[in-house]
């Protein structure tokens, strides 16, 4: 399954591929990873969007479930923020539909949608105090005053900022403003909270604290979080599901573990964490030639003598005595990183990045060993013609 999935294009993967590895997937009712979750709440169907003739999203399909912490992850310009803005109603797609709880909300304005957004840089109302900021949505909905007061108290308690009612937004730190922005959104009891790089402006320590805070909030509220970030660590820490995007396409959808351990292509492997991405040839099932040396692996179904990309995480490269290694090389760099040492080993003309708690000095001759299970085989990115052919198959 790992190999077959890797071959599929995004579109096919998401929208129940009609044929994969010769099996008609439409006839399979149980597909793990997708259907064992809660019921679907939002469907983005064939969403396309371009700005000034530049394609930002190209036929994007995405299903979001109830009570899911879903992260849209990718470099800037990958379309993740546009996707979020389409969900919020601030951008309307050129093509495609947004379905919320079974209803088409594509043309519904933001103020009629049952979701709330936490904006980048908070977007608090600077002319109102904290209580007025939080009460804004409730006052618009003409809720009674006692209800609003209770809600303000509850929300401030939830974000650990009790007693801040009369303060003005300008007098708060970035982290506090961020929490007020969250409080302002959640008092409206949305079914979905959209978060647009909410921690981007905070410093590292605060960002880490806020990550745990957000997970706690999500669990307490029991609602869906859709989170946009370019920070892979943030995504791995908080998400139930990560959607890796690049250039308007979804590259991979999966749990943090799947995304990290089984990246589907070189982009995902490179974007998530450090990795060694090496040209290789799949000789036959479970045997791959990396830099001219045969390695055992666990992947099958690629055919014989097929050029592939191989991903090996730096922590999966084992350094041993030269004679016990599969290939031999020389340590060229050594840096102490706290938890581990980072080394570069030149072997067979490739610089292997290695993370290890053990240390070899620069210049040492070492052997490299990799557990077959830790070798991730990926198809080379297809040219556009090949991709088109694959879709028509």
């Amino acid at each position: 399954m790992r190999c077959a999935k890797a071959k599929m294009t995004t579109r096919r993967l998401l929208f129940l591929p009609q044929k994969a590895a010769g099996i008609d997937l439409r006839k399979i009712t149980y597909i793990p990873e997708v259907f064992e979750m809660n019921k679907e709440l939002i469907n983005l169907v064939d969403i396309s969007k371009s700005f000034d003739g530049e394609m930002v999203l190209d036929e994007l399909n995405l299903n979001i479930h109830e009570n899911e912490f879903l992260t849209l992850l990718g470099p800037s310009g990958c379309g993740k923020t546009t996707t979020l803005r389409i969900l919020g109603g601030f951008v309307s797609p050129d093509k495609g539909r947004v379905v919320f709880d079974g209803k088409d909300i594509t043309n519904l304005p933001p103020n009629k949608r049952q979701l709330n957004t936490v904006f980048q840089k908070y977007a608090l109302f600077s002319h109102m105090n904290i209580a007025e900021n939080i009460a804004f949505g409730l006052k618009i909905k003409n809720k009674p005053k006692s209800y609003i007061d209770d809600k303000i108290k509850y929300a401030l308690k939830l974000v650990n900022l009790e007693g801040f009612e009369k303060r003005m937004p300008d007098s708060l730190s970035g982290g506090q403003q961020q929490r007020i922005a969250i409080a302002r959104a959640i008092v409206n009891e949305p079914k979905v909270l959209l978060l647009d790089e909410p921690l981007g402006a905070l410093d590292l320590k605060l960002r880490q604290d806020m990550q745990y805070e957000l997970i706690r909030l999500k669990n307490e509220l029991g609602i869906t979080f859709i989170y946009v970030t370019h920070d892979q660590e943030e995504a791995l820490t908080m998400s139930d599901t990560i959607v890796v995007m690049n250039q308007g396409y979804i590259q991979q959808i999966g749990t943090p573990e799947t995304i990290y351990n089984e990246p589907e292509n070189a982009f995902v492997a490179d974007f998530i964490g450090d990795s060694n991405i090496i040209d290789a040839v799949m000789l036959e099932d479970k045997l791959v030639s990396i830099l001219g040396t045969k390695f055992r692996c666990v992947d099958t179904g690629f055919g014989r003598n097929k050029p592939v990309d191989v991903v090996i995480r730096p922590e999966d490269v084992e350094l041993v005595a030269p004679e016990t290694g599969i290939i031999q090389g020389t340590v060229t760099h050594l840096i102490f990183k706290g938890v581990h040492y980072e080394m570069e080993v030149t072997a067979n003309g490739f610089e292997w990045l290695v993370h290890s708690t053990g240390m070899f000095p620069v210049g040492a001759e070492v052997g490299i060993k990799v557990d077959p299970f830790n070798i991730q085989i990926m198809n080379k990115p297809a040219s556009e013609d090949e991709e088109a052919a694959a879709i028509e198959e």
Binding site: G88, G89, F90, P109, P110, N111, N116, T117, F119, Q120, K121, A123, L124, F125, S126, H127, F136, G137, I140, K141, R184, A185, N188
Partner: protein, 275 residues
């Protein structure tokens, strides 16, 4: 360090000399003349002169016409500023240019042009009579003065409001919509309050010149309508009574200072500092 401080102070010397000669000395003279009579003795008569029927009337007309002009300017300027603020960069710089273009021409020339346009046998009436339409007789009436004020001072209202509108983070407006506010609610609860500094600057920059103008009323109001600016001008140039002219100037200054204090309280970000 000490030398550095002295050097810096020296650099400001030309400005201090300039300010002394052209601001402080004339102001001192206004106060001197305003608070003395022809014999040089101290008196408040020149200030109390504002209470006389003729002067009080001129002041009230000035205040009234400036206020009307300011209000008209505001209602014309705000929508325009909003349209400008919502345009993309390439479009709006062109429109802003069109707006600022007349400001590069001399104020007097522009007002004289309006006189030519509005005259009984002026351009507008020629066109109207050619089309067999009734003539427009507003020259030498308060309408013409208000028209002149609005025309001349409108850009001073548009630009500060525009400045304060473009400063509003679009996400703040989006946040209001996101929280359920419709377009009208968003405007009155978010956009308008956040643009108050610009509005205050705009009001100041239209109201003060309108209150003190004498050129517009002279050229477009004929000699029938005397604004306080005309009264002061006449005291200096025709009656030759510098004492009375200065006394009335001090009264006018009090109104201006009140206006500026109010605007300083609201305009903390200096929206009006673009000029």
């Amino acid at each position: 360090m000490k030398n550095n401080g002295i050097a810096r102070k020296l650099l400001s010397a030309p400005y201090i000399v300039w300010a002394a000669i052209f601001i402080i000395v004339p102001l001192g003279m206004v106060f001197y003349y305003g608070l003395t009579d022809k014999t040089g003795a101290f008196t408040l008569e020149n200030i109390a002169a504002i209470m006389s029927a003729e002067h009080a009337k001129a002041l009230w007309i000035s205040l009234g016409l400036s206020l009307i002009s300011t209000v008209i300017c505001f209602f014309l300027a705000y929508p325009l500023a909003m349209i400008l603020a919502n345009m993309n960069v390439s479009q709006h710089s062109f429109i802003v240019l069109i707006f600022i273009l007349p400001m590069w021409m001399n104020f007097l020339l522009r007002t004289l042009a309006w006189q030519t346009l509005l005259e009984k046998t002026g351009v507008i009436n020629n066109v109207l009579s050619f089309l067999h339409l009734p003539a427009l007789n507003i020259i030498n009436t308060p309408y013409a003065i208000v028209l002149g004020m609005v025309y001349n001072f409108l850009p001073f209202m548009v630009l500060p409001i525009y400045n304060s509108l473009v400063k509003i983070d679009p996400n703040v407006v989006n946040a209001a919509k996101d929280l359920g506010a419709n377009g009208i609610q968003t405007f009155f609860k978010i956009t308008l309050p956040l643009s108050v500094p610009g509005i205050i600057s705009g009001i100041t920059m239209v109201f003060i010149p309108a209150l003190t103008t004498f050129v517009i009323s002279k050229l477009l109001g004929g000699s029938k309508i005397l604004l306080i600016g005309n009264v002061i001008e006449e005291e200096f140039t025709q009656a030759g009574n510098w004492h009375l002219g200065s006394g009335l100037s001090i009264v006018l200054m009090i109104f201006i200072i009140v206006n500026m204090v109010v605007s300083a309280i609201f305009d903390k970000d200096g929206e009006g500092s673009f000029l």
